[in-house]
C-alpha cells in the first residue's frame, strides 16, 4: 500500500515537471503554429548551462539562476529571430524539420562544451525524505511540484491580466485579426519562444537536480510530447492535466509492470501512450478538432 502511495506521489510530481516543459511547447504551437521538436535539447542545454554557472564558474545561487533565465531568454530570442522568422509562411514540414536541425545542432554544442556527458547539479533542495502516511518521499519531488504550480499560477495571471499576455492569447485565436489590430505578431512569436525556453530551463533544472544531468534529459523533453498529445496540442489546461497522468502512468507502470514484462518498461510507457492516443483520440483530451476546408 505504501508502495502505491509512493508511486502516486512521485508520479504526480514528476508529471508536473513534464507539464511545465509541455506548456512551453503549447505556447509556441498556439502562437506561431511551429512544432518545436528541439524541446528535449533545450532542456538539455539549459541544464548544462546551469551546471556551468553554478559548478564551473562557482557562482552563488542568487546570481546563477537569474543568469540561467537570461540565457534562456536570449536563446529563445535567437532561435526565433534567426531560424524561424525567415521561415514564416513556409509549409509545416519545413517548420518541423528546421527544429529537428536545431535539435541536432544543440546536441552537438552540448557534446562540444561538456563532453563528459554525465554530471550532477549541486543540491538545491534539502535532502531528508518526508514521511507522508506510510510512504517515504524525497523532498526534491515536492519542491519541484510546488515550483511548477507557482509557475502555472504566474503564467495564467500573465495571460489574464498583462497586455502582452492578452495579445498572445489573441494571436493564438486569430493571427490575421491580431495583425489588423496593429499588434506586432513577430514580437509575439519571439516572446512565446523566450517563454518556452525559460520553461524548458526551469523544467531542466528541476529534473536534473533530481536525477542528474544526462542525455536522458532529451527523453524528458520527448516525454513532454506525450503530455502534449494526450492533453491536446492547443490546450494549456490539457497540458496541466495530462502531465500528472503521464507521470502516474510511467511510475505505476514502471512499478507494477516490470515483473510482468521486460525491465525498463518505464521508459517506453509515454511512447506507448502516444500510439494509443493516436489510434483512439488523435486530437487529445482537450484539443480542438481541426476542420479542414480546401
Amino acid at each position: 500500500m505504501d508502495e502505491l502511495l509512493q508511486f502516486v506521489i512521485t508520479g504526480i510530481t514528476v508529471g508536473m515537471i513534464y507539464a511545465l516543459i509541455a506548456l512551453g511547447f503549447v505556447l509556441v504551437w498556439k502562437s506561431s503554429g511551429v512544432a518545436n521538436l528541439a524541446l528535449g535539447q533545450l532542456v538539455l542545454i539549459s541544464s548544462w548551462f546551469t551546471y556551468g554557472m553554478l559548478v564551473q564558474a562557482g557562482l552563488p545561487l542568487w546570481l546563477g539562476f537569474p543568469l540561467v533565465v537570461l540565457f534562456a531568454l536570449a536563446l529563445g530570442w535567437i532561435i526565433e529571430r534567426f531560424v524561424l522568422r525567415p521561415l514564416i509562411a513556409q509549409p509545416i514540414l519545413s517548420l518541423i524539420t528546421v527544429t529537428l536541425g536545431l535539435a541536432y545542432f544543440i546536441e552537438g554544442v552540448v557534446t562540444f562544451i561538456w563532453p563528459w556527458s554525465v554530471d550532477a547539479l549541486p543540491r538545491l533542495f534539502p535532502r531528508e525524505p518526508l514521511h507522508i502516511g506510510t510512504a517515504v518521499v524525497s523532498q526534491e519531488y515536492l519542491w519541484a511540484a510546488a515550483i511548477s504550480l507557482v509557475l502555472f499560477g504566474l503564467l495564467s495571471l500573465y495571460f489574464k491580466y498583462n497586455k502582452m499576455g492578452i495579445a498572445m492569447r489573441a494571436t493564438a485565436d486569430d493571427q490575421m485579426a491580431v495583425q489588423a489590430c496593429g499588434i506586432p505578431v513577430t514580437k509575439i512569436f519571439s516572446r512565446s519562444w523566450m517563454f518556452a525556453c525559460v520553461l524548458a530551463a526551469v523544467g531542466g533544472i528541476l529534473m536534473s537536480s533530481i536525477g542528474g544531468i544526462t542525455f536522458g534529459l532529451v527523453e524528458t523533453g520527448l516525454k513532454a510530447f506525450s503530455v502534449v498529445i494526450l492533453g491536446g496540442l492547443n490546450s494549456f489546461l490539457g497540458a496541466i492535466v495530462a502531465g500528472p497522468i503521464i507521470g502516474l502512468a510511467e511510475n505505476l507502470g514502471g512499478g507494477y509492470l516490470t515483473p510482468l514484462t521486460w525491465p525498463g518498461v518505464r521508459e517506453v510507457i509515454p511512447f506507448i501512450i502516444i500510439i494509443i492516443v493516436m489510434f483512439l483520440k488523435p486530437y487529445g483530451l482537450f484539443g480542438e478538432v481541426r476542420i479542414e476546408r480546401i
Binding site: W29, A35, L37, V83, P86, L87, Q90, I92, L93, S94, I96, T97, V98, L100, G101, L102, A103, Y104, F105, I106, E107, G108, V109, V110, T111, F112, I113, W114, P115, L222, F225, S226, I229, L233, W262, P263, G264, E267, V268, F271, I272, I274, I275, M278, F279, P282, Y283, E292, R293, I294
Partner: protein, 350 residues
Amino acid sequence: MDLPAGIRNFSYATDMAIFRTKTHWALLLVLLVILFTAPLYWGNYWLGVANLIGITMIAAIGLNILLGYCGQLSIGHAGFIAVGAYTAAVLTNRLELPFLVGLISAGFTAGLIGLIFGIPSVRVKGFYLAITTIAAQFIIIWVINHWSSVTGGFTGISVPLASIGGFVFKSEASQFYLIMSIAVICTFFAKNLARTRVGRAFVAIRDNDLAAQVMGINLFRYKLLAFFIGCFLAGIAGSLLAHWIGFMNAEQFSLTESILYIGMIIIGGLGTTIGPILGVVFIRLLQQVLTVQVVPFLESTVALPAGFASGVTPMLFGLVIVLFLVLEPRGLAHRWALFKSAYRLWPFSY
C-alpha cells in the same frame, strides 16, 4: 523539363520518357560503366565509403517516397531500418536461412511494421505523425534491446556474410557490386514510380490531401502504400547493412540517425529522384572527411577542447540542415536542375 536547343517532342510517350536523347543514353552508359568498374581503381577504403553510401541511398530513396512524394513525415526511419537489419540477422544467423530469403523478408517485415505505425496517418498529419513515428522509433529500439532471446539484446548479434548460391560476398569489391546493383534498381524503381498513377496520387496527397480525396484518391490505401514502400526499402537497406557490417547493435539506429536521414533528403531536395542521391553523397562524404581527415589533422596541429571530435559533426550537420531550409529549401537537386538548363542552352542565356 528543358531540352537542349533544337529538340522537340511530338508525342506524349517521348515527352514522358526518362531518356529522351541519344546523349542521355550515352551519359547513362558511361555512368554505369564508371560505377561498375570502380572497384578496379578504387582502394578498399573508398569502396567501403561507397558501400555505406549505397546502403544509405536505398533507405533514403524509401524515405523520399514517403516524405518527398507523399508528404508523410517519418522521424523513425532508423527504427524501420533496424527492423530490417534485425530480421535479416535473426533469419540468417539463428535460423540459417539463405541471404536472399533474409533480404526479402527484411523488406516485408519492415514494411508491415511501417504499416502499423502508419495507420494514424489516415487521420492525422504534420506534427502528430512526426510524434507517432518518434514513438515508433523508441518502441522498436526498446523491443530490440530487451527481446534478448531473439535479438541478442544489448550485447548485439553477429551476422554472416551475404551469399547467393555458393558465392560468398567476402571482399569489399564483391559487396560493392551487390549493394550498387540494388541501389541502381531502387533508383530506377523510384523514378518510374513517380511517373505512374500511384506516384501522381502520392504527389496529390502531399499537395492537398483533402483535394486529392475529393478527386477520388483512396487516402487510406495510398498513404499506407507509401508507408509500406518507404519502410520496405528501409528494410532492404537494413538487411544489406547487417550483412555488410557483420555485427548489429541497437545503438547504430538512434533517433539522431533518423534525423540525419531527413536532413539528407532535405539537403538533396524533396520529391526528386536525384535529390536523395546528392544528399546522401553530400552528408556521408562530409561525415567521412570530417571524422577521418579534418578532425585528426586539426587535433595533431592545434590543441583542441576534448569535445571537439564528437561535437563538431552534429553541430555542422544541424547547421547545414537549418541553413538549407532557410536559404535553399529546394535542395541541391534544384541547383543541379539550374546547372543542367544552363549548359543545355549555352551559349544562349535563354
